[in-house]
Symmetry: C2
Subunit: 216 residues, 2 copies
């Protein structure tokens, strides 16, 4: 069985979610000029069981060497390839409010295979300006720019009421992947993938965990 990127259709979701953490540790090791990394280097830093790390690593197609572990550069490239982060994809962001601006200022995207090329906002005080060096366009230009630049990823940070309308416009213009920070469940055709980030859900989990503690 091939462990090349072709097999990544079968990577379990929790493994995918852990991959960026492995990448971060590998980048540290690379900066410290370390050539090898062991399963326990990972498991200790991430509070994971060594067997879990070994299972996750199997999906990268990289084999560890006894007593040495994994070759840092090789594993780093393999994980980037596994996540499709070896080729950077252009993305646009719709909504240049507080959250949108924060995302525009986030320097880690390029390491995560994403290049923010433009932002859009219907507020005339914002459109025309630059935020963290990225130009903000009026919403009317949305479809034209997506089509002209062949953008495939759209990030939505508009208020709830506008989430679906913006998603529809993005999809009609050719967007195939939506990273949705708007608190609305988007309805999209099957060929479009949506990853929803919901801060309220995280806060609900924390709140219930803390109340459980009170009862013990």
């Amino acid at each position: 069985m091939s462990q090349s990127p072709q097999s990544f259709t079968h990577i379990p979701l929790p493994t995918i979610r852990r991959m960026p953490s492995y990448l971060r540790i590998l980048q540290e090791f690379q900066q410290e000029n370390k050539e090898w990394i062991s399963t326990t280097d990972f498991s200790g830093r991430l509070s994971l069981k060594p067997i879990q790390v070994r299972k996750d690593m199997a999906y990268t197609g990289i084999q560890g060497k006894p007593r040495l572990g994994f070759e840092v550069n090789e594993l780093l490239n393999a994980i980037r390839r596994t996540l499709g982060w070896d080729n950077s994809a252009d993305a646009i962001i719709v909504g240049a409010g507080a959250l949108g601006s924060a995302l525009l200022g986030y320097k880690g995207f390029s390491e995560h295979g994403l290049k923010l090329v433009a932002a859009f906002d219907n507020n005339p005080e914002v459109s025309g300006s630059k935020i963290h060096g990225i130009e903000v366009f009026p919403l009317e230009k949305l479809e034209d720019l997506i089509q002209r630049m062949g953008i495939t990823i759209g990030i939505i940070t508009v208020p709830e009421d506008f989430g679906q309308e913006i998603a529809d416009r993005l999809i009609n213009a050719g967007i195939r992947g939506i990273w949705n920070f708007s608190p609305v469940k988007l309805k999209v055709p099957g060929h479009v993938k949506v990853q929803k980030e919901d801060l309220a859900s995280g806060l609900a989990v924390l709140s219930v965990m803390m109340h459980q503690e009170d009862q013990e």
Copy 2:
């Protein structure tokens, strides 16, 4: 078996994560002066199966009435109680950079049982100022303010390298719940609950989903 808030130790995580979405829809209904809400009102809007909605609702302790559904106000209060959001908890935020500022500007926290009372930053250009009406203090004041105000929830939005150090200081000062936006796996004692938000994980999932699509 009692379905009072005492039983919320046993609510499944996916149910907890859906509760804020139910709340949002209930608030819409309340604003439109609707008195009743049905299982299909929820399931349609959230693309859930009706049986899933019914199971989730069972954890609130509220019984629906045949043909009418659930009483909007009653269910709204029950979900707030279930999540511990009926009493607002004071929280502080450490790190007033791009993401911290975005969170300080987020108006939804009060609906989610959270009141941001102060921010902290070690940048002298930021501390002393107000962001979205909330005062930013220098980091030296962290412990004093937490103890004096009896704060129990801390939000961490500092860079990775400082995440653990800030967490240790928060916990020593009495914080029992940490909402962690720093890309580091925190080590905390058992009485402290951590909810980690990891944007890179979400982006990894979207990236892999889109590549899977390419192969089909």
